[in-house]
Amino acid sequence: MSEAPIQHPPDIYGQVLKVALPLLVGAIFLIVWQIVVTTLGVPKFVLPAPTLIWQALIGNFWSLMGSLWFTLTVTVEAFIAAVIGGVALAVLFAQSRWIATAFFPYAVILQVTPVVSIAPLIIIWVGYDNVRLALLILAWLVAFFPILSNTTLGLRSTDHNLRNLMQLYGASRWRVLTEIQFPGALPFILAGMKISGGLSLIGAVVAEFVAGSGASTGLAWRIIEAGNRLDIPRMFAALGLLSVLGILIFGVMSLIEYLALRHWHESAVRREN
């Protein structure tokens, strides 16, 4: 095999279809929705027509965008804190089996306790005038575990012979970590981050629902507010924005994963057969 790796001509037709097909399904869905609602005369406080939701979105554009920004920043900050915390803790766990054995159960307890049930406590602790911090803590709690467990697994999955090789060359623990353990764990860490990205959004929203006071201004609060006023189109608009946010986070994480692994990992490499 002396020839260079085969270059694929970009499959433009397939790429376009990949985007166009879901969009087409979405468009048909919206049209059917519109027709059904108008012809059957469904009241707008039960199921508003897509055009009404659009109007609600435009009519409340700046207040909704402000809430979107609030939720986005809480989510992203919680996510970054989760990545740093999860990876750091996993590195600590990887240094000694005793540390891992001693602390891992508590990480599990944090994870399995439903976030809704600890939310009131956290909110009392940080104070009602500081709801944003409470949301951050709660979103972090939900998001950090997948990163911790995936990174721990990844750091432990290092090729045994590569480890031996490092030992042979007298590599320090730090070099072993940076040269082979960490790069080898990267696919695991990225998989954890993909789950965590979605979870931080869920954490941020759920926590805000529980906090439920006027002090919070995220999308969850907009939904509660609209619900209280039976302003269902605005509720749907906020809901739609949340979905878009979730899709965006997922898309960014998938892109990062692809860029980081495209050269070597089975999951990202294109195959002939």
Binding site: M1, S2, P5, D159, N161, L162, N164, L165, M166, Q167, L168, Y169, G170, A171, R175, E179, I180, P183, G184, L186, H263, W264, H265, V269
Partner: protein, 269 residues
Amino acid sequence: MQMFAPEAASASPHTAKPIITLNGVTKTYGNGTTALRDVDLAIGQSEFVSLLGPSGCGKSTLLRLIAGLGEISAGRIDWPQTAHTARGEPEHDIGFVFQEPTLMPWATVFDNVYLPLKLKRMSRRQAAPIIRDALTKVGLENFGKAYPRELSGGMKMRVSIARGLITRPSVLLMDEPFAALDEITRFRLNDDLLAMWAGQHWTVIFVTHSVYESVYLSDRIVVMGARPGRVTADIRIDEPYPRSEAFRLSSRYNDYCRLVSAALHETMT
């Protein structure tokens, strides 16, 4: 033809100035199995020694102990020609080639070969010509930027050998390096390995379970028996290098193979 009867290995009459000596090396695992018992061996400088034996005879274990991977239960391994650290550990430079290529899949061929030099804190720029040279020697001069997954099994093994030799070690330890390759690739790699070894002054300890491979490559074959692992014969292959296909087809080669096979069979019965 000069032939050596299978005999215990200690104080082999033909070894050159020993670079490694093993005295009564015993390895017992935690569960009580004895992997090696009382192994005495002297490896001469610039020798090409094969450790040959059935599976379970502890030949890989022995190689790892020589490399310093794992504790010896009894006996000692000495490096008489090597400087020692203050803590009494030999400052030997070893290359190790595993049965699997054991490459970092996320790194290019260049970076894989660079690893040992990087660990010795050599800069990339300083290392670049050395790495290019090493890749040329294994016939991969155009593959520095390739990733391991883009290479065939034989090419990956070549990268592994280049990495093993990049620090110019005095001893190259090879643990059944070609066992997973097809025969044609194995033959080519055998020849290339011999070409790299010839004229240089490094020692090779080569673990294999192939009689034919060991006869073709080595100037000395240490036959080992199983349960417990021990040395049962020490045979010299008195055939000049370079060796070629002609040797493989010669009657001397056949005689040696028969001799070594007989020694191997004796240990298994």
